[in-house]
Amino acid sequence: MNPIARILMVEDNPMDVELALHAFREIRLRHEIQVVTTGIEALDALFGHGEFADRVRYPLPDLVLLDLNLPGVDGFDVLRRVKSTPVLKRLPIVILTSSREDGDRALSYDMGANSYLVKPITFGDFVDVVHRIERYWLSLNVGPPEVAG
């Protein structure tokens, strides 16, 4: 039995957050989900700054679900920071966005995103996607060795 994993979800739209959490409930996710709604908060959480300094309380996640369209410091900024930091860059980051644009896809992969998923509009499809994320990234995929924070 896999241990409980931690998922960090970076999403600014509260409705999307709500739908996502509902979807996770639907699939009866065993793992922990933490939600941050800005890029700055995401960086703090990943780099252990600010309110997230307490690594015991806020350990590093095992998977990051990252929206690109964040106000201010956007998803690309977060991605770039993380993927250019020696130890943090191993962290699996899955882009979860509504954009299917070529430019966004290219940039994301260039910056080292591990996966790129497009949010379906239909809720049923979204639940399906969430289910597959859990199955693949938290069950099938073998993560990196301990990522020191």
Partner: protein, 580 residues
């Protein structure tokens, strides 16, 4: 007395002989220095006799008062010849040498008595007249040459005899088809005529005259300035009217002055360049420079210079064309072109900006609309699933409507964005593996196909085509979706995809067994938002075929449809095959 008279005759005779010799010798060019010596001796003698009025042969006429030619070349001469002159030295020493001398001369020489009987004919005259001189002596001019009557020469002889005035005439003598010059010296005792065949000279003179006339015509009528200068001193020798008209310098201002000094060159470097080139190559062609007019105005001009010998002396002929207006026109044209280029660049920039604005709009719509749509659909579905029990039938029905409507809205936005994106970026045409593409699309549609119990048959060996995979994906996705959507009730949809080849192109057809399209709507179906069925029956957005048509147009291909109501429709897409 007789002796004295004879001596008088003899001396007059001798002096006149000398005179004739003088005349002849001056015209007697081939005999060189000997002749010159002889000439000077004779001339001085003649000059002594006639009071030094004889310098040149041309003055012979002036120094021939009637008295001097009196009575010499009539009977006494012939008499002398016929009679064998007396022992008196003057005539014996001169008689034969004179005749021989006259025979050696290039000009024809004949003498007549007042009745126009030949009294003397020299050898050359014999040649020119085509007669033996001896035969002519004593014969009459009018009987020997009746054809000459009325000719200028005959008239001149008669007039000379009448007026006793010497004359020189030139004319064309038709019977011989030659030109002659006659120098006619009359006296009371007869006529002496020196004549020469000047045909060749005349032809030469005529040719020269014509050549000069040609030059003159060109010179006077040229639209360009023509200036002739002399190389030795640089002086301007001639200018045409046009020069004056164009530069403002009258002929008097220019002639006799150095061409350089005329101050026609705005930049002295130009003049130096031209003269330099002249020294190197001997000519200048179409050299552009700035010409300064008399009034100070500067105009663009073009000069060509060539060397030419005039009277044996080197000259230069300068032809200057005023190209000022042409240059202005060229500049204006260039300015207009530049302005046009700038306008085009500006317009392109504006279009690009508009295009960028459009793309930004498309992007923003894509995101901004989708988020609320996700929310509408999401929560409605959650309600429908998790809270269905709390709703009554009507509530559940309303909820279903919301879900359905949001679904349509999503498809509408997707299609609209796909259509709007067409043509906003440069399409690069490349080989596309259509077979794989269609297989992929069918794979993606599998859930839908299964739900509708639809089946899609794809012909084998679909060849690769020149196109764009994104656009072609849109085309075939829409065509296949339509093919399975517009089905007849109770009839499982069946879509057949085949192809034919013609002349470098391949036509793919997507044939369905659906409801078909009524003839009256055929021309409308490719329009945006054009739907022939109600939303309930068939979930099309009305944009699918518009996307198909626009995409195929962007690929440079053709799309058309054949349909039969109640049987189905076939859509044809014709594209270029990959060569080889």
């Amino acid at each position: 007395m007789e002796c004295e008279a004879n001596v008088a005759w003899a001396s007059a005779y001798a002096l006149l002989g000398l005179l004739c010799l003088a005349i002849l010798v001056t015209r007697w060019t081939p005999f060189g220095s000997r002749a010159l010596d002889l000439r000077s001796v004779l001339l001085s003698l003649a000059g002594c006799w006639f009071g030094r009025r004889a310098e040149r042969s041309n003055r012979v006429l002036a120094m021939m008062p009637a008295a001097a030619s009196a009575n010499v070349f009539s009977s006494p001469l012939s008499t002398c010849r016929a009679e064998r002159p007396p022992q008196g030295k003057p005539d014996t020493t001169l008689h034969r040498p004179l005749a021989e001398t006259l025979d050696r001369v290039n000009d024809g020489f004949v003498a007549f008595d007042p009745e126009m009987n030949y009294t003397f004919v020299n050898r050359r005259a014999g040649e020119l007249l085509g007669r033996n001189p001896e035969d002519l002596i004593g014969k009459n001019y009018w009987t020997e040459y009746p054809e000459a009557a009325g000719s200028t020469f005959a008239e001149a002889y008669l007039r000379a005899l009448e007026t006793l005035q010497p004359m020189v005439i030139e004319d064309y003598y038709a019977p011989f088809d030659r030109w002659f010059e006659n120098r006619i010296y009359p006296s009371e005792s007869g006529l002496s005529v020196f004549f020469s065949d000047i045909t060749d000279e005349k032809k030469l003179r005529e040719a020269l005259r014509q050549s000069e006339e040609k030059f003159r015509t060109v010179f006077e009528n040229s639209p360009d300035s023509i200036i002739v200068t002399r190389v030795s001193d640089g002086l301007t020798v001639e200018v045409n009217d046009r020069f004056s008209a164009l530069t403002g310098y009258a002929e008097e201002d220019a002639i006799g002055r150095r061409f350089d000094d005329l101050n026609l060159w705005a930049n002295p470097d130009d003049l130096r360049a031209v003269t330099g080139r002249l020294h190197e190559t001997g000519r200048v062609r179409d050299f552009e420079f700035e010409r300064k007019l008399k009034n100070g105005q500067i105009r663009n001009a073009q000069v060509s210079v060539a060397r030419c010998l005039i009277d044996g002396e080197p000259h230069l002929i300068w032809t200057v064309r005023d190209i000022h207006d042409r240059k202005l026109a060229e500049l204006a044209l260039q300015a207009a072109r530049d302005q046009l280029e700038r306008r085009v660049a500006k317009r392109t920039e504006e279009l690009e900006e508009a295009n960028d604005a459009m793309k930004a709009f498309v992007y923003s719509v894509s995101h901004d609309l989708r988020a609320p749509l996700r929310a509408i659909n999401g929560f409605a579905e959650i309600l429908a699933q998790s809270h269905r029990a709390d709703l009554d039938d009507e509530g559940q029905h309303f909820l279903d409507n919301i879900v359905q409507a949001s679904g349509r809205m999503r498809r509408l936005i997707d299609d609209l964005l796909a259509y709007a994106r067409l043509g906003t970026s440069a399409i690069r045409n490349e080989p596309v593996l259509v077979a794989d593409l269609i297989a992929e699309i069918v794979g993606e549609l599998r859930p839908r196909l299964d739900k509708l119990h639809a089946c899609v048959d794809i012909a084998a060996d679909l060849p690769p085509l020149i196109g764009n995979s994104t656009l072609l994906r849109g085309v075939f996705l829409n065509l296949i979706e339509n093919g399975v959507s517009y089905n007849r009730p109770e009839v499982p949809p069946r879509v057949e995809i085949g192809w034919t080849r013609d002349d470098g192109h391949v036509t793919i057809h997507v044939r369905d067994n659906g409801v078909g399209i009524p003839a009256e709507h055929m021309d409308k179906i490719f329009r945006v938002f054009q739907r022939l069925q109600s939303a309930d029956d068939h979930p099309g957005t009305g944009i699918g075929l518009a996307i198909v048509r626009r995409s195929v147009a962007l690929l440079g291909g053709d799309v058309w449809v054949e349909s039969q109501v109640g049987e189905g429709s076939t859509f044809f897409v014709r594209l270029t095959e990959v060569p080889g």
